[in-house]
C-alpha cells in the first residue's frame, strides 16, 4: 500500500494545473468560482481549448480521441480541472452521447458526430425524462413511428437542460409500443432545427433558465440517425448512465468551494471576529470537510480498484459517490448563504440590462440562487432515493 503519488503523477498534476490556470480564460473561471451562469459561448470556448489539447474527451476510447490514461491520471485531471474552476467539459457531449456513439454507433455516425461532439461544434442536449416518466424512466411514451427511411416522432420531453443551446438532442423514444417497457425503446439523434420541435423554458426556483420542455409534433427524423439497433435503446441508456461513476462525486469542485467559503468567511464578521473564527461556523464547515475528505479517499479507493476490477464489476464504494457527493455539494451552498449574511436577500437576476450597481458584495448575489438551484443535485441522474434502491439491490442483495 503506497498512498503517495509517483513522480510522474506529480509532474502530470503540475502540468494540468499549469494548463488549466493559464490557458482557460480567467474571466470564464471567475464565473465558475462565483457560481454565475455560463453562456453557451463560455462553455464552447473552454471546451475548444481543452479539445485542442485532446483533454476534452479523455474518457473516450483512444481510437475516438480519448486518452490512454491511468485511473490516477483521470482522477488528477478531474481534481485539478475542478480546483481551477474550469467548466466541466459539456456533460451531454463528453460523458453521455459521445461514449454511446463511440461504442454503439456505426462508422458514418462516428465519423460525422464524434469530432463535432468533441469540439462542441454540436451542443447536445438530452431527451430522456417525460412528464409521466421521471424515476420510472422506462415508462416513457414519446413515440417514433417508422415510415420508410424516416421515423416520425411525437411526444414531449421535460427537464431538458440547456435545450435552448442545443443543436442536437439524443432521445429515448418508443419504437415498439407492444413490447415490455424496457424492450421497445430506441436511441435516436435528432437535429433541433427539424420542423415540429418546440422548446419552452421552465424557470426554476432560483430564477434560472436551465431546463426546458421539448415538444415533438410530427418531427421527421432520418432513420440513419438511429444509434445501434432498434428497440435496444434501454441498454445504451444504461451504459450511458453507468458511465460516469467517479466524476459524479464532484470532489474537486467541492474542495474549491470549501476553500472559497473559508476565504469569504475571513472577510465577513461575526461580532468582533471574522466569521471563520466563530467556533459554531467553523465546526459546521469542518464537519463537511471531513465528509469530503472521506469521499475523496473513497473515490481514490474506487479509482485504484478500477485497474484491477473485471469490466462491469463495481467496487461497492463506488455506489456511494453520487449519494454522498450530492449531499456535500448541497451542504456547501448552505454554508455560503450563511457567510453572506443579510446580503443573501437581494434578488439580482434578470434585471433586463439594468446597470444598477450590485447590492452588497459581488460574491453574495449567487449564494441563495445556488442553494435553491442545488436542490436538483440529489434529484437528477436518478434521485438519491433511487440510488438507495439500486444499492440495496445491486450491492446488498436485498
Amino acid at each position: 500500500m503506497d498512498l503517495s503519488f509517483t513522480d510522474e503523477e506529480l509532474a502530470f498534476r503540475a502540468e494540468a494545473r499549469r494548463f488549466f490556470t493559464t490557458e482557460i480564460p480567467a474571466s470564464i473561471r471567475a464565473k465558475v468560482a462565483e457560481g454565475e451562469g455560463l453562456t453557451k459561448d463560455d462553455m464552447v470556448t473552454s471546451q475548444r481549448i481543452l479539445n485542442d489539447r485532446g483533454w476534452a474527451t479523455v474518457n473516450w476510447p483512444v481510437a475516438c480521441g480519448g486518452q490512454d490514461w491511468s485511473p490516477v491520471q483521470v482522477y488528477l485531471y478531474q481534481d485539478e480541472l475542478q480546483l481551477a474552476h474550469v467548466p466541466q467539459p459539456i456533460g451531454f457531449n463528453v460523458s453521455m452521447v459521445g461514449p454511446v456513439i463511440a461504442q454503439f454507433g456505426n462508422q458514418a455516425q462516428k465519423d460525422y458526430f464524434l469530432p463535432k461532439t468533441a469540439s462542441a461544434e454540436i451542443f447536445w442536449c438530452q431527451g430522456f425524462s417525460e412528464p409521466g416518466s421521471g424515476s420510472d424512466l422506462a415508462s416513457l411514451r414519446t413515440r417514433a413511428e417508422r415510415k420508410g427511411d424516416t421515423y416520425v416522432v411525437n411526444g414531449q420531453k421535460i427537464w431538458t437542460t440547456l435545450a435552448q443551446y442545443g443543436d442536437w438532442i439524443f432521445c429515448l423514444v418508443r419504437t415498439d409500443p407492444t413490447a415490455k417497457a424496457q424492450e421497445g425503446i430506441s436511441f435516436l439523434l435528432i437535429d433541433m432545427k427539424t420542423p415540429g420541435i418546440t422548446v419552452r423554458p421552465i424557470i426554476t426556483i432560483d430564477g434560472g433558465r436551465e431546463v426546458n420542455e421539448v415538444f415533438f409534433d410530427n418531427v421527421v427524423v432520418p432513420a440513419e440517425n438511429l444509434v445501434g439497433q432498434e428497440n435496444k435503446g434501454w441498454d445504451y441508456a444504461k451504459f450511458l448512465l453507468g458511465n460516469e461513476r467517479t466524476g459524479i462525486a464532484r470532489v474537486g469542485m467541492s474542495k474549491a468551494k470549501v476553500i472559497r467559503i473559508k476565504e469569504l468567511a475571513a472577510l465577513e464578521f461575526a461580532g468582533e471576529r471574522p466569521l471563520i473564527e466563530d467556533p459554531r461556523f467553523r465546526e459546521k464547515l469542518a464537519a463537511v470537510e471531513i465528509e469530503l475528505k472521506a469521499l475523496e479517499m473513497t473515490q481514490l479507493r474506487v479509482v485504484a480498484d478500477e485497474r484491477k476490477m473485471a469490466k462491469g464489476r463495481q467496487n461497492p464504494a463506488s455506489s456511494i459517490l453520487k449519494l454522498k457527493g450530492s449531499v456535500i455539494q448541497q451542504q456547501l451552498t448552505e454554508l455560503l448563504m450563511e457567510v453572506v449574511g443579510p446580503y443573501v436577500m437581494p434578488y439580482q437576476r434578470d434585471f433586463d440590462g439594468n446597470n444598477e450597481p450590485t447590492v452588497g458584495p459581488d460574491y453574495a448575489t449567487e449564494a441563495a440562487p445556488m442553494y435553491f438551484n442545488y436542490r436538483k443535485v440529489s434529484i437528477y441522474g436518478g434521485s438519491n432515493e433511487i440510488q438507495h434502491n439500486i444499492i440495496a439491490k445491486a450491492i446488498l442483495g436485498l
Binding site: 498512498l3 475528505k293 446488498l396
Partner: protein, 384 residues
C-alpha cells in the same frame, strides 16, 4: 498511488483473518472472557507465536518492523473478533511509548520480552479532572537524587490490572495544564507504593484505577522529562489503530444486520424486502465505507512527523469514525429489534465496543472542535 497490500502484508492479513475466523467466534470469545484475567492467555501466546506482539518493533530487536498499515490490518481484524487481550494497551500504547521514547538500553531489555509475550504494558494518563486532555496532569514527580518519586492517582488505565509495567505521566514542573514539565515514567506493577484496582469495562475488556504513593523510579525507567510531544504522537498512532479496529467492528455490525434482514420474516416476507429498511441498510453501508476511507487516511497520517498536519488528519478520522460508528451501531440494534438488545446475541457486543471507541481519546465533537480551530483540512493549492 496504490491501495494494494505488499506480499508480506497480504500474508499477515491472511493469517490474522484465519486466526479470528477460526479461534475468535462469539462463543469462543465468551469462554476467553470467563478466564481468570478476563481474556485468554492461550490466545496471547498465539499472538506472540504469530509475531503480532512484535509487530511495530524494529527487526534488530526481534520485531516485525511493521508500520501503520500493518497495524491497521491487525486492528481491523481484531475489531471484527472483538479481541479481549491487552493488545492495544501493550503493543500500541505501551509499545509506542517504548519504541518512540525508550532509551536503547530500555528498548533492548524490554522489546524482546514484549515480543515473546512475557511482558505486558499499559499507559496511565487519565486523572479524575483531566478528561481527554493529555497535558492536564496533577500526579507529581519529585526529584530525589537521581530518582523521581511519584504521588497521585490515575484512572481508567486500559488493561492496567494485568500489566507488568505501566507508563505513568506525572508533573515535574509547572501548573496543572502546562504543556511543559510533564514527565513519563515506567513503573513496575509490583513497585512499593503502587496499588491498583482492576475492573471490567462496558465492552468486556479490563481497566484499572491506580494510586501512587511515594513510588520511586530510577535510571532508564525515567523515560522522558519533556514527554508531551512523544505522548501526543503515540496517541495519534493509537487513534489511527482504533479507527481500524472500529472499521472491523462496523463491518461486522453491517454484515450481521444485512444477514438478519434477509432471514428474519414478518408479515410473511423477509423484512429486507421493505424499502424503509433497505434504505437504512444502504445508509449503514455509506457510513461504513466513509469510515473505512478515513481509517486508511489515519494510517497515512499516523506516520506524519509534522505534528500539526498529523493532528489535522487524525482528528478528522476520529470524527468520521465516531459519527459512522454511532450510526452503524444504533442502526444495527434498531434493525435487529428485540434480539439486538440481548446479551445472548453478538451484535450488542459490537455496539458496546464501538461506543467505547467513540469515547476513547475524545468524542467526535471534541476532535471536530480541534480540527475546526486548526483551520480544517483543505487549503488553496499552490499556483502552477
Amino acid at each position: 498511488m496504490d491501495f494494494d497490500l505488499t506480499e508480506d502484508q497480504r500474508l499477515l492479513k491472511e493469517s490474522v483473518d484465519r486466526l479470528i475466523a477460526e479461534q475468535y467466534g462469539f462463543a469462543q470469545r465468551k469462554k476467553y472472557a470467563a478466564e481468570a484475567p478476563g481474556w485468554s492467555t492461550t490466545m496471547w501466546d498465539l499472538f506472540a507465536e504469530m509475531g503480532l506482539l512484535g509487530l511495530p518493533f524494529e527487526e534488530t530487536l526481534g520485531g516485525f518492523g511493521g508500520g501503520p498499515v500493518e497495524t491497521m490490518i491487525v486492528m481491523e481484524t481484531f475489531g471484527r473478533g472483538l479481541v479481549l487481550e491487552p493488545y492495544f494497551a501493550t503493543v500500541i500504547l505501551g509499545g509506542g511509548l517504548l519504541r518512540r521514547g525508550g532509551s536503547d538500553s530500555l528498548k533492548g531489555a524490554l522489546i524482546p520480552k514484549v515480543t515473546a509475550g512475557k511482558l505486558k504494558l499499559a499507559f496511565a494518563h487519565v486523572e479524575r479532572q483531566s478528561r481527554y486532555n493529555l497535558n492536564d496532569v496533577t500526579t507529581t514527580a519529585r526529584k530525589d537524587g537521581s530518582a523521581y518519586v511519584l504521588d497521585g492517582a490515575k484512572s481508567v488505565v486500559l488493561h492496567g490490572d494485568c500489566a507488568d509495567k505501566i507508563f505513568v505521566t506525572a508533573r515535574i514542573a509547572g501548573g496543572r495544564r502546562d504543556q511543559d514539565g510533564i514527565g513519563l515514567f515506567l513503573v513496575d506493577a509490583n513497585a512499593p507504593g503502587l496499588s491498583r484496582r482492576g475492573y471490567p469495562t462496558q465492552d468486556g475488556l479490563r481497566a484499572a484505577e491506580l494510586t501512587l504513593t511515594g513510588v520511586r523510579v530510577n535510571g532508564d525507567h525515567i523515560v522522558s522529562e519533556h514527554a508531551l510531544p512523544l505522548i501526543e504522537h503515540v496517541i495519534d498512532e493509537a487513534i489511527a489503530a482504533l479507527c481500524a479496529e472500529a472499521v472491523g467492528t462496523m463491518q461486522v455490525m453491517h454484515d450481521t444486520t444485512l444477514e438478519y434482514l434477509k432471514t428474519r420474516k414478518q408479515f410473511g416476507r423477509a423484512i429486507g424486502s421493505f424499502q424503509v429498511l433497505q434504505h437504512r441498510s444502504v445508509d449503514m453501508l455509506v457510513a461504513l465505507e466513509q469510515a473505512r476511507s478515513m481509517a486508511v487516511f489515519a494510517a497515512i497520517m499516523a506516520s506524519e512527523d509534522d505534528p500539526i498536519e498529523r493532528k489535522r488528519g487524525i482528528a478528522a478520522a476520529k470524527v468520521q469514525i465516531g459519527r459512522s460508528g454511532k450510526h452503524c451501531g444504533q442502526e444495527a440494534i434498531q434493525l435487529h429489534g428485540g434480539i439486538g438488545m440481548t446479551q445472548e446475541y453478538s451484535v450488542g457486543h459490537s455496539f458496546k465496543r464501538m461506543t467505547m471507541i467513540e469515547q476513547l481519546y475524545g468524542s467526535a465533537d471534541d476532535h471536530l472542535a480541534v480540527l475546526a480551530k486548526m483551520g480544517g483540512l483543505f487549503t488553496r493549492p499552490k499556483a502552477a
